[in-house]
């Protein structure tokens, strides 16, 4: 592929020299910027308590304590907080799909009266980021209108507001729009109801877009901090991120670092396994919207 630099230049001695020296410099910069912090974290978690606080710091741990990681897992009760995180994210993801898939299907294929008005009202919410609505949404969760329940400290306080995601509905609807109506009509004629048509015909065809929407939702939930911080004041209900922030000042540094590394592992591993799909989904989601 042709880019900024003329290909012929890269065949000259001077061009090659510049190319390789630039490549080495950028490789070094990237490695310093992104690998060293991670190395510092992982080894910091294996240092003894006095060594991690030492000035000047040691680049390579003098004594290796890999046992810190299992100690942190037990002492900080990380299993419980991982469990909370999985419950919050898993529930929000499933509820989100259960709400957004039928809504997008109805707006795309069933096209009820006022469907465009509803879609427009949903898209308007994209202009108002959830963070700016923190206070009214919080007060709504403390006393849900009509139902009159208080969801504070309940996982539903995270699940329900996360399901109101207009971006996902928009992306799914756009994808459903590409599926030819004839295909669905054929199923109708064979006697399939609206739900069966969606479940058996549309959803299997939509696996790629469901994967993209799922990745975006799970990543957003994983990164969210302020909302679980305010709606889950009970320490026993908090996800691992809120929990680590809460204990940061009362835990010894090497244990905290080990906990932080352990908390980061699941998503980093998922990313390394699925990186092709995640990176493709990221650029597709942003450029084609």
């Amino acid at each position: 592929m042709r880019t900024l630099v003329r290909p012929a230049v890269l065949r000259t001695t001077r061009g090659r020299l510049v190319y390789w020296s630039l490549l080495v410099v950028v490789l070094l910069l990237f490695t310093i910027a992104f690998i060293i912090p991670l190395y510092w974290m992982v080894t910091g978690g294996m240092k003894s308590s006095p060594e991690v606080a030492r000035n000047p710091p040691t680049y390579i741990p003098e004594e290796w304590h890999p046992g810190n990681y299992s100690d942190a897992w037990d002492q900080l009760e990380l299993a419980r907080y991982f469990g909370n995180t999985v419950l919050l994210i898993g529930g929000a993801w499933l509820l989100g799909l259960a709400v957004q898939l039928p809504a997008a299907y109805a707006l795309s294929k069933l096209r009820p009266r006022f469907g465009n008005v509803i879609l427009g009202l949903m898209l308007i919410t994209l202009m108002v980021p959830a963070t700016a609505l923190l206070i009214p949404t919080y007060l709504t969760v403390t006393d849900v209108p009509i139902f009159g329940t208080n969801l504070i400290n309940s996982p539903a306080a995270v699940w329900l507001p996360a399901a109101a995601n207009a971006f996902n509905i928009y992306v799914l609807k756009n994808f459903f729009d590409q599926i030819p109506d004839e295909l669905l009509d054929a199923a109708r004629i064979d006697g399939a109801g609206a739900f069966t048509t969606m479940w058996r015909i549309t959803l299997p065809l939509s696996r790629p877009i469901i994967a993209v929407v799922s990745i975006l939702s799970v990543t957003a939930l994983w990164r969210d901090f302020l909302w679980p911080l305010v709606v889950l004041p009970d320490p026993a209900k908090q996800p691992i991120t809120v929990y680590l922030q809460r204990i940061a000042d009362s835990t010894s540094l090497n244990m905290l670092i080990a906990g932080m590394v352990l908390a980061s592992i699941p998503l980093v591993v998922i990313f390394l396994i699925f990186q092709r799909h995640i990176l493709a989904g990221l650029t597709a989601g942003s450029l084609k919207g």
């Binding site: 900024l4 609505l133 969606m198 901090f225 998503l267």
Partner: protein, 303 residues
Amino acid sequence: MAAPVTAPGKRAAGRRRRLTEHLTAYGFLCGALVIFGLFAWYPVVRNVILSFQEVNFVRGSSWVGLDNFTYIFDDPLFATAWKNSAVFTLYALLLGFGVPFVAAVLINEFRHARAYFRILVYLPVMLPPVVVALMWRWFYQPEGGLINEILGAAHLPTSDWTNSSSTALISLVIASTWANMGTATLIYLAALQTIPGELYESAELDGASIWRRLWHVTIPQTRFVILMLLLLQIVGTMQVFTEPFVMTGGGPEDSTVTVMLLVYRYAFVYNNFGAASAMSLLLLIFLAVFSAAYLRVTRSRQI
């Protein structure tokens, strides 16, 4: 039963069938309508209402006119918070905008190690922001922290970072750029790959140097993406909360108090939900303007 169906009867049956279809469609939509009603549409309206009320959980809320706005305007931290959020956004644009663009242009020129660059730059995006903030708080320690250690080893001047009111804000921006630049870099990279190679070739025939090609081909060809990310970043960074909350708590000397941090304090520290709503209403209006512009840009690109 075998009698031919009369025209009005047929029409009635057709209308009934349409009605059933509408009802089915609304059955599919009802979950979303309830959820959006309660957690998206109602909060927008309620934010406006709350700004003019005193919220009391025991006695109920009462109307107080513009008292909440007078309260926040009288708070000396009001101006500080907006100034800090604006400066944070400005720094974040200079760093978080320039660095990913340069990185993407460079990576796009390389014929080696591209996968390594892409994975590396996106890896921090997968870390929870709280972990990033706690980790940088530790790196920034003036004595024995990683950053000063690297700078010292390279014989560069060290700094007090988050411990000094003059450098605290920029320290947060650096940490935030480190964590988030992966997204922008990869989006730029994807945009650069859509530029037709002929444009570079013809610019070259006209005798344009590499810098002129960058200025006259690369930047205009990616201007949609540049504009989109610019607006997205303004919207994102004006809401910044996690970094100041975790790394500095707003200090030292209020130098990192941001708008959202002040909203949080009003509501969850001082228990003044009216003032918090008034403050977030102002933020909401500000963000809505930029989000509307963002939606216009992305829409116009599709057509």
